[in-house]
Symmetry: none
Subunit: 118 residues, 2 copies
DNA sequence: TAGGCAATCATACTAAAGTACCATTTTTCA
DNA sequence: TGAAAAATGGTACTTTAGTATGATTGCCTA
């Protein structure tokens, strides 16, 4: 009888621990699902932007320069970030102006925002 | 005997449904926790920005110049829009740089966006 | 009413941005 | 594999942006 009681208790404890364990797993799974769903949106947004960028015929490098430009960096800083010369940055920026139909970098930034490129 | 079997089955089914229900609750709780943790940072950042925005103490004219600047206009164009000289625009812009802690207008635009000023 | 502040404008200057043109190397792809 | 596109970079130049400084006017308020 005592043994039976003990074993019953032990089984209950085991069950309890098991349940808590499962519960933790499920909660963790929920957090993970939320994380994945969040990142999916972000990734899709980036893909969408790249699609749009492609439609505007922006090259990969031009798009990268655009991103840095939006961040408020100078040509020199962009050059340092992308490991290219300021000269090359100016070339990319000029091409961006043509493709975005902008006269200045501030106008280019504004238009890029309106086009949901960034 | 049959009844007993049925009732046992019914109890198992109830338990099963209950378990699934609890599992869903736990997963939902996990998603919620992830969501809350994610937004906590964002909310804190916004509160911090609103405080900063208030401390920035931009004058009416400076704010107006900022808006035009964000629109991608040149100093000359801003001057024409606000019916003031380009010289005055430059003064306001310089003051904006000090208050926003920016070196360039693109950086000022970027910081203003982050501060939810525009 | 004197002092502070916002707004205005000017001049003179330096720094950065932007244009035009050309050239070379890499990548891509039909 | 050969042509096209992309990426890189240089020089020389013009334009715009940004800094420094000083000055005037009008408005609010302690």
């Amino acid at each position: 009888m005592q043994l039976s009681k003990y074993s019953l208790f032990a089984r209950d404890l085991t069950n309890e621990i098991f349940s808590v364990f499962i519960a933790c797993l499920l909660i963790g799974f929920g957090v993970l699902v939320g994380h994945i769903l969040r990142n999916k949106q972000k990734t899709e947004a980036i893909l969408l932007n790249q699609e749009k960028a492609h439609q505007l015929d922006l090259s990969k490098r031009e798009y990268e320069v655009l991103i840095e430009m939006v961040d408020g960096k100078s040509n020199k800083e962009i050059a340092e970030t992308l490991f290219i010369s300021e000269s090359t940055v100016k070339t990319h920026v000029s091409n961006l102006f043509i493709k975005l139909d902008a006269k200045r970098r501030t106008e280019a930034i504004h238009k890029a925002r309106n086009l949901d490129l960034i």
